[in-house]
């Protein structure tokens, strides 16, 4: 079992390294086969380990990575219910996406690099999930950042793609700084970085420290999960190939922040302030991103903002103290968002590599299959009753409602408003893409078979995802909550209250649909208004950060370089050197090369010495 557990992350690592080192020398199908094989193998290994996960889980230590003084970081894996759930989802979705990518990247000349990075990403993601200590988790944490960087800028010929990758890496690294400080602090307090040990001893801390540490962890989570205020990288990250967006920027990496908070939940949950902050961050991000998604023109950017918004819901759930709700939404979201992105990839292909939804339209006629599958994803996203997204989102909102206090009621209201917006932008997307006639000129590109085959499975999981945690009301037994051992998350609401909540959810869903129906059934091209432009640019956050951080930073750099380094330090040195030079120039007079002057000097010297001795003698 231990060996099997070690194989889960190692297989993708081996695949990635193999592709990185020898990929360019292998035939093209072999590259894709190695990559997909490694991930599928990893999926099977996860399945094999699954029975061991129940209860305490299994653990194994491969070797000691760093050990110095009392600081020990081991490469140790921990496979408990939470990790098992996440690992199964990641390897499963990643397997499908790898297969999809094999079709998607058929014509790309640099396929080996793509698959190497994709495999390494899976490895790093699994490291985050399975790590039993924070430093190893941090290795995965930065590792996914690197792979994401490499994949966003995959088509490097365009400078802006590479810039988007750089932005993603640096913005997430700002979050990582907080994570690092939190890690260091936890080690300084406990003398260990083992996740289980920290969770077990979290109660020893005094409340202020605890709150600060929890907030630092939240900072780390915000960076990776694109939550306010470190969210601006995610929309730009859509520059990468579509499978990358599906895997990294929808299903797995952006949920790493949620996973981190769930992993350390025993610690985080001890601080009400931190929980409240997490909930607020989540709710506001959800709302912010939903408004932005309303105005986007590129299909992938709509989905990117919707991802941000849905991850915001997960943060809200963590903030409400319900790990199972967060994980539930994480799982269903992973399925339907991967489906949506991969569907979007198909649509872009069908539209002749056109990203702009205003240039699409009538796509339903180009491929019925893609239409239905994509629609299934959109229904999940919008929270159509009985889909996976409906149950998971509803659980989060109901949890907020069940708390009862004014603060939580406010969050609930914001959540419901966001749900309405979600429904609205989902159907806006659907109408703009599928209704009417095709508005562009491009001819459809052939869809590789492999791209289509993978979608139905995801659609199935997305639609039926609700079964994972079916509430009692619908005759389920909340399996997920039980599996995670979090029976405290179960809601004890009166029946009429539950019906009320359900009807609210249904109402906002229908409301969003209706508005979209009347507004976007026929495309009315109008000049984007002020508000629309504001939403389109993501509330002008990029410009804001540019003013607030980037420009002052450049000024600071310039000051250090030209002001201090060349101006002050080199200037001082130059001045010193020049003074020496001037003295030398002045002394040149005595060395004019004339022998007679030198001889004169001798005589004067002689006289001086003789005179000195005479003077001594006189005394």
């Amino acid at each position: 079992m231990e060996l099997l557990l070690a194989l889960i992350p190692l297989l993708p690592l081996v695949g990635g390294v193999a592709n990185a080192c020898f990929g360019s020398r292998l035939p093209r199908p072999a590259q894709a086969m190695i990559a997909s094989g490694a991930v599928i193998g990893s999926f099977l290994a996860t399945l094999g380990c699954w029975p061991g996960a129940a209860g305490d889980g299994i653990r194994t230590t491969l070797f000691t990575w760093l050990q110095s003084g009392s600081f020990t970081a081991e490469v140790g894996l921990l496979f408990d219910p939470l990790a098992a759930l996440m690992a199964l989802m990641v390897t499963g979705v990643a397997s499908l996406i790898h297969l999809y990518a094999a079709g998607y990247m058929e014509d790309d000349s640099d396929q080996a690099r793509f698959f190497a990075l994709l495999n390494l990403f899976v490895f790093a993601m699994l490291t985050i999930i399975l790590a039993d200590n924070l430093l190893l988790m941090f290795l995965g944490w930065e590792g996914v950042g690197f792979c994401s960087y490499g994949l966003i800028g995959f088509w490097y010929h365009k400078g802006e793609n590479a810039s988007a990758g750089r932005k993603a890496f640096i913005v997430t690294r700002i979050g990582d700084l907080f994570f690092t400080v939190g890690l260091l602090w936890l080690f300084a307090l406990f003398g260990t970085i083992g996740i289980e040990a920290i969770n077990a001893r979290a109660a020893e801390l005094d409340p202020t420290t605890l709150t600060l540490i929890a907030l630092l962890l939240l900072g780390g989570a915000c960076g990776k999960s694109a939550q306010l205020p470190l969210m601006s990288w995610l929309p730009d990250a859509m520059a990468g190939p579509t499978p990358v967006s599906a895997l990294i920027h929808a299903a797995t990496m952006v949920t790493a922040g949620v996973y981190l908070l769930c992993r350390l939940f025993p610690l985080v949950s001890l601080s009400p302030v931190a929980l409240g902050t997490i909930a607020c961050v989540g709710a506001f991000t959800a709302f912010y991103a939903a408004t932005c998604a309303l105005a986007q023109r590129e299909i992938k950017r709509v989905l990117a903002y919707s991802t941000m918004s849905q991850v915001g819901y997960m943060f809200l759930a963590v903030g409400l103290g319900s790990v199972s709700a967060a994980m539930f939404h994480l799982l269903t979201h992973a399925f339907f968002k991967a489906l949506l992105f991969m569907g979007a990839g198909c649509l872009i292909n069908l539209a002749g590599h056109e990203n702009d939804i205003f240039q699409m339209g009538g796509m339903a006629k180009r491929s019925k299959t893609v239409f239905w599958l994509f629609l299934a994803g959109l229904f999940c996203l919008a929270g159509a009753p009985l889909t996976g997204g409906f149950f998971s989102k509803d659980l989060i909102l109901a949890t907020a409602f069940a708390k009862g206090e004014l603060f939580f009621m406010g969050l609930y209201a914001l959540g419901v408003l966001t749900a309405a917006l979600t429904s609205l932008y989902s159907f806006r997307l659907a109408y703009l893409v599928f209704a009417g006639d095709f508005r562009g000129e491009e001819l459809p590109h052939e869809l590789p078979k492999l791209m289509l085959w993978t979608l139905p499975l995801l659609a199935l999981f997305g639609l039926a995802g609700g079964l994972l945690n079916l509430p009692h009301l619908f005759g389920g037994h909340s399996w997920l909550t039980g599996w995670l051992g979090r029976d405290g998350d179960l809601l004890q609401l009166p029946l009429e209250m539950e019906y009320l909540l359900l009807s609210v959810a249904l109402t906002v869903f229908l409301l969003g649909w209706l508005i979209a129906h009347f507004r976007y059934r026929k495309l009315r091209v109008s000049e984007p208004g002020c508000l629309c432009g504001f939403f389109l640019s993501g509330w002008r956050c990029d410009a804001f950060f540019d003013r607030l951080l980037i420009r002052p930073f450049r000024v600071l750099c310039r000051f250090c370089w030209q002001g201090v380094d060349t101006g002050l330090i080199d200037g001082l040195l130059e001045g010193f050197a020049r003074t020496c030079l001037n003295w030398g120039q002045a002394l040149r007079f005595f060395a004019d090369g004339k022998i007679s002057r030198y001889l004169q000097g001798f005589v004067w010297g002689l006289l001086l010495i003789v005179g000195w001795f005479l003077l001594q003698a006189v005394r």
Binding site: L587, R588, A591, D592, G593, K594, I595, S596, L599, Q600, V603
Partner: protein
């Protein structure tokens, strides 16, 4: 000692000053060298005189060293003078001031 030390001292001082003036005043390289030689010999004379006065051999030893060194110095410097004369066609010291800083 027949000759009193004072006489030797006076003679060598006069000789030294003569040599010094020669070195300082003349512009001809050869004459400057001759002046240097005179100064060296003045010192040699003084050493011999002092050696006789104190009845110690050291002074004479040093004079012999001095003679050997002088001969070497003269041979090198005269060779250099010849070389310099070939280069510039003159032995005037004013012509040789390339070593100015």
């Amino acid at each position: 000692m027949i000759v009193p030390l004072e006489h030797v001292l006076i003679l060598s001082t006069i000789l030294f000053l003569l040599g010094l003036v020669c070195v300082l005043v003349r512009r001809n390289l050869i004459m400057i060298l001759i002046g240097v030689e005179i100064m060296l010999n003045a010192v040699g004379l003084l050493l011999v005189g002092a050696s006789a006065f104190w009845q110690q051999i050291d002074g004479q030893v040093m004079v012999i060293f001095l003679m050997a060194m002088t001969s070497a110095e003269v041979s090198i410097s005269l060779a250099m003078v010849v070389y310099l004369n070939r280069r510039k066609g003159t032995v005037d010291v004013r012509a040789f001031d390339e070593m100015r800083g």
